[in-house]
Symmetry: C2
Subunit: 97 residues, 2 copies
């Protein structure tokens, strides 16, 4: 758990938005674009309004920080939150930092 990597990943408006969207995908994405593994990149990109490459990099960054997980299904990659990482971060701030 690299604290600085995590905080850097959280230091961007779009990346924070993505995390919010992935917290309640049923609110933000149509059923056909999400499943138990999360939401595919293209739909996240569409909502973000940035280029595909940028959004893909952002998702990779969030993944490296451990905040989200990826599952490849055919040509799609589904991303979902790693809630344990958020719980751990919350506890870290509550008691360690």
């Amino acid at each position: 758990m690299d604290q600085i990597e995590i905080f850097k990943a959280l230091s961007n408006k779009t990346r924070l938005q993505i995390l919010t969207w992935l917290k309640n995908p049923e609110i933000y994405f149509a059923p056909e674009h999400r499943n138990a593994d999360g939401v595919c990149v293209g739909m996240i990109q569409e909502k973000a309004g940035l280029t595909q490459s940028t959004v893909s990099e952002y998702l990779t960054m969030l993944k490296k920080a451990g905040l989200i997980e990826a599952t490849r299904v055919g040509q799609w990659t589904y991303y979902k939150r790693n809630e344990e990482a958020f719980a751990a971060l919350s506890k870290l701030i509550e008691s360690e930092i």
Copy 2:
């Protein structure tokens, strides 16, 4: 509470160290360099091993993010943690982000 400002402030090794030192000043600073208002800039600078201007700027940044508070006493400025901000951030990550 500007989330991004907070996460940016936390995205730096030295600033995280300063927050750790201020969490338990009695461990890291001699009694004559601390009081109920916190620890003075010079002592924080000494521990950080960076220039006075850099450390002063870092403290200003942490203060703008709401993570620490400043009290001027004579020629000294004492900085201490704002624990409520950390509690609020912990809750934010636990339930909102």
